[in-house]
Symmetry: C2
Subunit: 126 residues, 2 copies
DNA sequence: TATTTAACGCAACTAAGTTGCATTAATTGT
DNA sequence: ACAATTAATGCAACTTAGTTGCGTTAAATA
């Protein structure tokens, strides 16, 4: 079950993802919004926004949770099977539109893939 | 700096990876070996074995640390850029020899890739 | 405007992984 | 084989991302 009420917290969080299109870690949001809302609320709202298909989540390089805007997902189906790119210098994470082809694996049924690329982003790649 | 002394703990841990070729999570090792060694020791030995190129590590589906035997790595260079497969039923993780082609990403320098596939393994795929 | 109940804040908790330090045991030299 | 050296270990305490329970607040609706 996702969002039922359009609360102040929901609006604030949606706004964060609206104004910049990079992914944001839960930890970053907790630091950034600590004066406006409780961390429990942040985790709960993010979870609901994911259920609703507004955001998708994935794990960054330390196993920490990141969220980013979905494009064209619904509560029924998440089809954000794109790779994510994390800069090892500045830590920024972007969603990549590039497709990575997952070959068929014999005797296994692949339902999901999580691809995290690491390296230097356009700003840090001098 | 990796392993200097061939201690009892090192032998026990190497043996765990010798007798089965699937990946093992740090948590599993802590449970399995709690009567034989301390969890601090487990984490420290695993780290050293990775430095030495005997093991490689990656993050499983909950961001927990997993380790698996390397094949042909050295302390200088890890070239285990293979995908890992985690069964969503039994939780088992295997290293896949299948190559996944990472396309060039414009304006970015990709140094590392971490690919985790999830689905049903050969035993659970009925 | 009153009622209902989803959403919130807070404090306490959980668990993976880390750190500091005193003790133990693997290696090295004699 | 034994003593000296110091890497490795065990233990307890800590760190921190994320979770849970519960009393209170504030959106929706009637």
């Amino acid at each position: 079950m996702g969002i039922l009420r359009k609360t102040k917290s929901v609006k604030i969080l949606l706004d964060e993802f609206e104004k910049k299109s990079t992914a944001i870690s839960a930890i970053t949001l907790i630091e950034r919004l600590h004066s406006k809302m409780n961390k429990t609320t942040i985790y709960r709202v993010l979870e609901k926004l994911e259920d609703d298909g507004f955001l998708h989540s994935f794990l960054g390089k330390n196993g920490h949770k990141w969220y980013a805007k979905c494009s064209g997902c619904s509560s029924d189906e998440h089809h954000d099977i794109h790779p994510h790119f994390q800069c090892t210098d500045c830590g920024k994470v972007d969603c990549l539109s590039t497709d990575v082809l997952i070959p068929n694996i014999p005797n296994r049924k692949v339902d999901m893939s999580q691809i995290l690329l690491q390296g230097k982003c356009e700003d840090c790649y001098t």
